[in-house]
Symmetry: C2
Subunit: 197 residues, 2 copies
């Protein structure tokens, strides 16, 4: 049905998450209709990203440099470390422009079902940073899932003994959300986290 190189392109596009056969076909046809340079630039970007991006040896964020931009930024306060599971969580926090400390990317969450224990994550490295740096607060920005809760418990226990405050981001009603439609867990968390006004 497809000429061979087209079939191969569709097949590879289909391996991407959320891209089914229809979408893969649409993307492939789109690329072939556009000027050749577009597909070649995408190919080039893929190769460069793959070959140049590694992880920062301090915070373990994805980076082409070591240490990464965020670790080298002079305006950032070393006494706060925000701990996230994945680079995408770091990006979400950075987007708020509210946090001016350093980050630490765990590379996942503790998940015994999948055989991921604390040793598989960058927890040892976090504890080393907390131990040597002048860290005053460790903020855990970790999803409130079962694995997230487990990881949060584990971290808070081992970080606290090293001295710094351990805090966790607030869970509650999202801004723009509606009490009526909020699920029980979210509302329970919102109640639990209530504050004096």
């Amino acid at each position: 049905m497809y000429t061979r190189p087209l079939a191969r392109l569709i097949e590879h596009l289909q391996r991407l998450p959320g891209i089914g056969p229809k979408t893969a076909q649409r993307l492939a046809f789109h690329l072939l209709r556009r000027p050749k340079s577009e597909a070649l630039q995408l190919a080039q970007a893929l190769v460069e990203a793959t070959e140049q991006i590694g992880v920062c040896s301090r915070c373990f964020n994805l980076s082409a440099e070591d240490p990464c931009d965020l670790c080298r930024q002079p305006g950032r306060q070393g006494e706060m470390i925000c701990v996230v599971a994945e680079p995408r969580d770091l990006v979400a926090i950075e987007r708020t422009r509210e946090f001016k400390g350093h980050y630490h990317v765990l590379g996942g969450l503790i998940n015994p079902m999948e055989g991921i224990g604390p040793e598989q994550l960058r927890i040892k490295e976090l504890l080393q940073r907390v131990g040597t740096d002048t860290v005053k607060e460790v903020i855990l920005a970790i999803n409130p899932s079962t694995e997230g809760e487990m990881t949060t418990m584990y971290l808070s226990k081992y970080v606290k003994v090293l001295g710094p405050r351990v805090t966790r981001i607030a869970f509650g009603l999202p801004v723009g959300g509606d009490l009526e439609y909020a699920d029980e867990m979210t509302l329970a968390r919102a109640l639990e986290g209530r504050r004096e006004i």
Copy 2:
């Protein structure tokens, strides 16, 4: 926020149709989490598709060979040509396994608003094929849009004078569809196209 090669990859992924910033970010992070070979194979597939795929000089379908596989297939009847606007329409027809003739890809539809006249499409080439080959029937498999209707009118006029039957695929209630929810245009077409049983 992103290390440079990552920003570039996300930017290029975002140029694809239906891929917004969130999806582009997700795809990029996915690719960086997988073994390097995956991204490199995708890049390779992009380069090969771009460099090897052209159009068949007979039917103008996308093809790495000329003439294309479909034009060379021995079982296909040369007396029928199915005319489609785009390669994706050809794929849709091929998927039915119901058509055993040849194809002709116009490369678009007549669209005066966008300055696309009959000269911009492979209509001259179609008329040449119809004139020289032993074509008995030309099936127009063209969407029932304004541009599709215009193109269908134009083609039927010029093909008919060369001798062959000109037919058009049927429009009506889709299989699995429901009379109650069908739009008026579809139902009108279904009525109009009614057949003796």
